[in-house]
């Protein structure tokens, strides 16, 4: 209590400042004084009796409690009217001031424009995401059924797909559903029309598809187009590709041995649709083909490829339907062993911008991405606002006489406040024009950044986005202009007219310094993030995977036995090795197999099926044993090559690679003997730990890959040769060949996109911070010109003067670096890089190189301006005063 009282004598002995201000703001002038007095009296009482903390608390509560109809002042329409009358004058003086201080206007407008262009981009991006599926007439009452699959003892998975059974049950048992449609993804084949063949992917969809969704048909009957088995609906684009200008209606398209009849042509799917398709095949065809041979298709736990959407009648809430689904869940899960499958409803409007679901049928963006983008834009715009605030307060001297004059002529504090807020909003709107131009350029670059982005959004202008732009500019203006307006409105008219130099210009120097430090902290953090991110990304690409991907070209096969092709390829002198494999490792794909060693112990291991050349082409290292010795057909498979993790997981022969040779393991029911032990390598991506992997022998992989080792001076010519060979080998499918290193690059492309985005933001942040710094340095040297001249006359050298002017700014930058670097380091070390099981250590050079660059730039700015001031002829400066 005693310490409380002691403290109370200084800071805490006063009522909270904001509460006082708030009271003065809302309370009627006629009631204000004695109310303030009463509260003060109670405050003093409480201070004596119960201490400062209690007294302040009670004061705050009382101020809030007195906010009542009889105490609140009426809105002052007269003031609004005066503001309206004065707008012309405000605009005129703002314009003059803008033209007079060209450098500062330039810094402000360019800074705001550049930063807002990022904001515009984010707004357009968001507007697109929220406009997803808006063309669906029943968007607000369409729901998707999503599924949570929980295998006992494992992490559950949330998927956007569900089982066909749910769809069937919807019709039978669940009341209050207007329409529903069942779809299935994964139809893919060669569409043959006469002699021509085109690869085509399609969705199976049942006849209610066009009732639930608004995808208008150009020709054909929406009610029956997808009713009969083997009906096919094409989009206009697909129809054009398949039939050129001929009328496709009623034509036959053959896939394998089955003929499908075209029963409708749909308009092309709009860009902002989460559901996209080139062609639809009636679900009855799936029943007639897949369903005939595979009963599993219709089971409750087959939830991986099927999608169910439903619409509710107008005005219905989804609760009833969800309750019915809950009942269905309980009933069906009774029969499930080892897993639980629960379905629930997801509104269509949450699909495009919802939480992460696997098996999404179309584009979906995680809210995290959106928040990160908003955060980046916010930080950049804030930085530009800081510039405005800083420079305007610093330049307040120039406007103080104007304010003094206005006040003497009868302007109130609120009028001046309004004037300067209006001015900053006007400047922000002016900046918006430039910003829009920048945005048009930025949009192109952003869309080109990665194919996923241009897939996802179109960034076309819409009413919403334009309203958003104007709102952003207005808000930015208000935020930037607030502090300067408050500062200027407080100017005392009489003292400023008598002697303008009496204005306490440096009173807010602490605030300005803080803003500069903050700006530089942000810029430095961004640049360090970019540098570290780039270093880590390069590290991912060049990581030693445990085998060689150098000059390996992977060619995707499309079902034909490649023996002929291999023979022809071997003739090329650039091709030094050819192997076959089921899949390409290290690029994110994985194929599991069930492995047993001792009875009762089984586990999933990852597998690849390869031929005898695979190990040499990829330079895999064997710890012991040898490559496959036998060349059996699939049924007589007897050998397996395992990695060290397999020995560890199953504790085979005490993990001794030599002794493990000849041991028998069972993989997917095949009894195989270990012929070789591989050194551990990265089967998955670097985000995952190395797990047990087996290589099994396979003579030929018609649906897998050819791996070509290429030694060539002219890769383009080699590719052309390979392409020629491919064309005569497979006439339907275009050649799909990628260099292994490029495939790996693609896996981590989202990181490269991230680094690019953050790098761009870093450049902007640095530009804006540099502009702000330039402004402050110019202002400081200008105001200290007399001082500098006198010092020079008294014998100070130019170097000394430059040092004198610089040191304050250098200290600020130093503080910025001291905050930014450790924070960035910890952010990467503790948060970002923990996502990667394997990564390189953070390089000190990466951390410091960017910072050094920014510092050099700042030094150059400060140095050039201060040197200019220091070189001035003191006689001339002092004479003109």
């Amino acid at each position: 209590m005693k310490t409380n009282l002691k403290k109370g004598s200084s800071e805490n002995g006063q009522p909270p400042r904001w509460a006082q201000v708030f009271l003065a703001w809302y309370c009627r002038p006629s009631l204000l004084e004695d109310l303030e007095g009463d509260l003060n009296e109670y405050f003093d009482r409480n201070l004596r009796k119960k201490g400062a903390r209690y007294a302040r608390l009670v004061y705050m509560i009382d101020v809030l409690k007195f906010f009542r109809p009889y105490t609140v002042r009426k809105p002052d329409f007269l003031n609004l009217w005066i503001h309206y009358l004065m707008i012309g004058s405000y605009i005129r003086t703002s314009r003059r001031s803008l033209v007079r201080n060209k450098l500062f206007s330039f810094i402000n407008i360019i800074g705001l424009a550049v930063s807002m262009s990022v904001g515009l981009l984010v707004i357009a991006f968001l507007a697109d995401l929220y406009a997803y599926d808006d063309f669906q007439e029943k968007k607000d009452r369409t729901y998707r059924i999503i599924t949570h699959q929980q295998a006992t003892g494992q992490n559950g998975i949330d998927v956007a797909s569900t089982s066909i059974k749910v769809g069937r049950k919807l019709g039978e048992t669940i009341p209050g559903v207007e329409d529903f449609t069942i779809m299935r993804s994964g139809f893919s084949g060669d569409a043959r029309i006469g002699q021509n063949a085109f690869p085509l992917e399609a969705l199976w969809a049942d006849q209610s598809f066009f009732k639930v969704f608004t995808f208008p048909l150009v020709t054909g009957d929406p009610g029956s187009a997808l009713k009969e088995p083997y009906s096919l609906v094409l989009t206009e684009k697909t129809a054009k590709k398949l039939f050129a200008d001929a009328d496709p209606m009623g034509q036959t398209v053959r896939f394998d041995t089955i003929n499908y009849v075209v029963t409708g042509i749909a308009k092309d799917v709009p860009h902002l649709s989460h559901l996209r398709f080139d062609a639809l095949i009636s679900f009855a065809s799936a029943d007639a083909t897949l369903g005939k041979t595979d009963e599993y298709l219709y089971t409750w736990d087959n939830v991986w490829n099927n999608y169910v959407y439903l619409t509710l009648p107008k005005g219905e809430t989804p609760e009833d339907a969800q309750r019915a689904l809950d009942r269905l869940n309980t009933e069906e899960n009774k029969a499930m062993i080892g897993q639980q499958v629960t379905v629930s409803l997801q509104p269509l409007k949450d699909v495009a911008l919802g939480n992460h679901l696997s098996n999404n049928i179309g584009a979906a963006t995680s809210p995290l991405v959106v928040w990160v983008l908003i955060g980046l834009a916010f930080v950049i715009i804030l930085s530009a606002c800081f510039n405005y605030t800083n420079l305007s307060i610093a330049r307040a001297l120039r406007r103080s006489r104007e304010v003094g004059m206005r006040k003497i002529m009868g302007a109130r504090k609120s009028h001046v406040l309004g004037q300067f807020m209006a001015e900053s909003v006007m400047i922000a709107l002016l900046a918006l024009l430039i910003s829009f131009g920048l945005y048009l350029f930025l949009r192109k670059e952003f869309l080109a950044l990665s194919p996923e982005i241009s897939e996802l959004v179109s960034l076309d202008l819409s009413l919403q986005s334009i309203l958003g732009f104007v709102a952003l500019a207005t808000l930015t203006g208000l935020a930037a202009g607030f502090l300067p307006a408050v500062f200027l409105s407080r100017i005392n008219a009489v003292s400023v007219m008598k002697d303008a130099s009496g204005l306490k210009l440096f009173k807010h120097i602490g605030l300005r310094k803080t803003l500069i430090v903050l700006q530089y902290t942000l810029s430095l953090a961004f640049i360090a993030t970019t540098m570290i991110g780039y270093g880590q990304y390069k590290g991912l690409l060049n990581f030693d995977l445990g085998f060689s991907t150098q000059n390996v070209l992977n060619i995707k096969l499309r079902g034909a036995d490649p023996a002929v092709l291999i023979k022809e390829l071997e003739e090329l002198k650039e091709v030094t090795g050819i192997s076959q494999s089921m899949m390409v490792t290290s690029v994110g794909a994985s194929y599991g197999a069930l492995m047993k060693y001792k009875p009762g112990d089984s586990a999933i291991v990852w597998q690849n099926r390869v031929d005898e050349h695979y190990l040499s082409v990829h330079k895999h290292n064997l710890v012991s044993g040898s490559n496959f010795l036998l060349r059996p057909s699939k049924e007589n498979e007897s050998e397996v090559i395992v990695n060290q993790q397999v020995l560890k997981r199953f504790n085979i022969a005490g993990q001794d690679p030599q002794k493990a040779l000849g041991q028998f393991v069972t993989v997917d029911g095949q009894k195989l003997s270990i012929i070789g032990v591989l050194k551990d390598f990265h089967y998955g991506t670097l985000e995952n730990k190395i797990e047990p992997v087996v290589f099994r022998y396979s003579k030929s992989q018609p649906n897998g890959y050819l791996n070509l080792k290429i030694v060539s001076q002219d890769p383009a010519a080699t590719m052309a040769k390979i392409e020629r060979l491919w064309k005569s080998f497979d006439k339907v499918h275009p050649l799909e060949a990628r260099f292994y290193n490029n495939q790996i690059e693609k896996v981590y492309s989202r990181y490269s996109t991230m680094v690019k985005v953050i790098g761009f933001v870093a450049v902007l942040a640095i530009c804006i911070a540099s502009l702000g710094l330039l402004g402050m340095v110019v202002f400081t040297t200008e105001t200290r010109l007399n001082e500098i001249s006198i010092r020079k006359v008294l014998g100070a050298s130019e170097i000394e003067l430059v040092y004198l002017l610089c040191k304050g700014f250098l200290a600020l930058l130093g503080i910025g670096a001291l905050i930014a670097l450790p924070v960035t380091y910890l952010f990467f070390d503790k948060i970002v890089l923990t996502r990667f099981a394997y990564h390189q250590p953070i390089g000190i050079s990466e951390l410091f190189s960017g910072v050094l660059l920014v510092m050099m730039l700042a030094l150059l700015l400060i140095g050039s301006q201060t040197a200019k001031a220091a070189r001035n002829n003191p006689a001339r400066v002092l004479k003109s005063k």
């Binding site: 004084e33 109310l35 009463d38």
Partner: protein, 110 residues
Amino acid sequence: MKGTNLGEFEELVLLTIAALVQDAYSVAICDELEKHTGRVSKLGVVHTVLNRLEEKGLVKSRMGEATSARGGKRKRYYEVTQAGKIGLIRAKEVRDGLWNIIPGFNIETA
């Protein structure tokens, strides 16, 4: 209708103002009420009532002199007007009239 009816709390406040004579300002009124009724009177409630009484014309107020206490803010002193006095007397008469017609009133039996 407004000026004619007095609520119970209003009557108490009015009486307190009358009792305090020259010193009737909000905080003093609160304290005095607390002393006599034994109930904690909140400043906010008293303020509202004072405001309403003034609206009804039962009290009038003037600002006092500024002193160093209360952070230099002046006090608002209240005074019962003629209408207020009439209101108080009428209220008392109503009560007295009722008391008079009670034949015998023994507190022990209650």
